[in-house]
């Protein structure tokens, strides 16, 4: 243990309004801590520099799942266990439920929050490929009000995002319109549990008359931050799933991804496996199509 608790302050104002006031009073001075599964790891490793922290744990407005006819709104401090336990998420957004079950272990899932996962912005974050595939929107809040951005524009660079210093991530909005879509999510990790993704791919697609009418591909660990594979999507949109289409999509993916060598894997391996995952998804799609 390399951290020293005595040199950090932590407060728990208890309400969203009080937290926002604090952030507004001294923008950038306070670091939010939700489930703490990133912050406390940094603390123990002696890497936590933030002198003042404000707790988001136990603030009801941030930990809620609201279901409307067209969408699901998930509070930023909703834990992955909350997501797993929610019947509607499992039914309507199965990729998100699946990803929630991948986060560390049960003990982690009970603390780790969806908002924390996104703000932390690891390129390997497990929730990201699903959210990219589902075309999620992110809502921010501050004393100045609320605003929404597409999740695909949230990350701006390695561990950077478009949150302002006085803002909190407030909620994640997900449309409920994927019942007819073909969905795919696969994580290739270091092991079967407690694993960081070496590569992950989330995908949804809608076929119409044998052609791809809609497709979104979200990837982890293939770029400095979780990324939509736009070029690959473009290579597939409007096409029928011939061997040629699959081959050119594969090429587009290989041209588009920018994985790195690190202590967990190699760029070469990541690229190839990403392409294999794409194949696997497209072959699944083709098989579904073949069934009358």
């Amino acid at each position: 243990m390399r951290g020293n608790a005595a040199i950090h302050d932590l407060v728990a104002p208890g309400t969203l309004g009080a937290v926002l006031d604090l952030l507004a009073a001294e923008p950038g001075a306070w670091t939010p801590i939700a489930g703490g599964t990133e912050v406390m790891v940094a603390f123990a490793a002696g890497r936590l520099t933030a002198p003042k922290l404000v707790s988001l744990w136990g603030i009801p407005d941030l930990r809620a799942i609201e279901v409307a006819p067209q969408s699901v709104v998930i509070g930023a401090a909703t834990t992955f266990l909350d997501l797993r336990r929610h019947a509607l998420i499992a039914a309507d957004l199965p990729l998100l439920a699946k990803a929630a079950g991948w986060i560390g272990s049960i003990a982690n899932q009970g603390r780790a929050t969806l908002g924390g996962n996104l703000v932390n912005g690891s390129p390997a974050a497990d929730s990201s490929p699903a959210l990219l595939a589902y075309d999620a929107e992110i809502e921010f809040i501050s004393v100045r009000g609320r605003r929404r951005v597409p999740y695909s524009e949230f990350h701006t660079a390695y561990k950077r995002n478009c949150l302002a210093p006085d803002e909190l991530l407030y909620a994640i909005h997900l449309p409920r319109r994927f019942a007819r879509h073909n969905q795919y999510l696969r994580k290739v990790g270091t092991r079967r549990a407690m694993a960081i993704a070496k590569v992950a791919l989330g995908a949804i697609a809608l076929l119409e008359n044998g052609r791809i009418r809609e497709i979104r591909l979200g990837a982890a660990s293939l770029a400095p931050y979780p990324m939509r594979l736009m070029q690959t999507e473009a290579a597939l949109l409007g096409r029928s799933l011939t061997d040629d289409t699959i081959q050119s999509a594969r090429r587009a993916l290989l041209a588009e991804v920018k994985p790195i060598d690190d202590i967990r894997s190699t760029a070469d391996y990541r690229r190839r496996v990403a392409a294999n995952l794409l194949d696997e998804f497209l072959l699944q799609l083709r098989r579904v199509e073949a069934v009358p």
Partner: protein, 182 residues
């Protein structure tokens, strides 16, 4: 319920209140102090272990208001008002918990360092899923690393405890049965 205070009189830190193993406690300590350290250093509950300090090993698992947590990742302020159970609070009225009994009979503990956390994870699993199958047991303890057993006997112990729990058979823990090795 008894309340005990371990706060120093002129301590500048905020008071944090919680119930640990049925006992109300108040501590005045730095709010970022890890729950793990508070349990071990301030409350002398050393049954909870530190294996990694980064949420990876599960040796520090305790139950916090009904959820399983790694106490190394919880700043104590976030445990304000919580109900905490540690391994020391598992045996009840002088009886080994069915899980403890099963681990003892079936070799679920070897060196014992992962055991407190493992028991808490298993207890948590059984509360949420009284009759887990092997896949559920594996998932339930996947965050608790054991380097000694290869997990096989832990799976068996947990499975055995489910049947024991339903049969309500735990042996009484007496001093004779508590073998002090040294």
């Amino acid at each position: 319920m008894r309340t005990s205070e371990s706060a120093a009189p002129n301590n500048p830190w905020p008071a944090v209140r919680f119930v640990v193993n049925g006992e109300a406690r108040i501590v005045s300590i730095p709010p970022m102090k890890r729950l793990l350290d508070v349990l071990r250093e301030d409350l002398q509950l050393t049954g909870t272990k530190e294996g990694c300090g980064e949420g990876e090993c599960g040796s520090c698992s305790v139950r916090l208001s009904g959820e399983l947590v790694n106490s190394c990742l919880v700043p104590v302020l976030q445990a304000d008002g919580a109900v905490i159970q540690t391994v020391e609070g598992l045996a009840l009225n002088g009886k080994l918990h069915p899980l403890q009994e099963a681990f003892l009979q079936r070799g679920g503990a070897q060196c014992g360092i992962c055991t407190p956390g493992m028991l808490m994870a298993a207890a948590h699993l059984l509360d949420h899923c009284p009759n887990p199958d092997l896949a559920q047991i594996r998932e339930g303890i996947a965050g608790n690393l054991c380097r000694c057993t290869g997990f096989i006997r832990i799976f068996e112990s947990v499975a055995a405890a489910t049947s024991a729990q339903s049969a309500g058979s735990a042996t009484t823990l007496t001093t004779e049965q508590s073998h002090h090795a040294r």
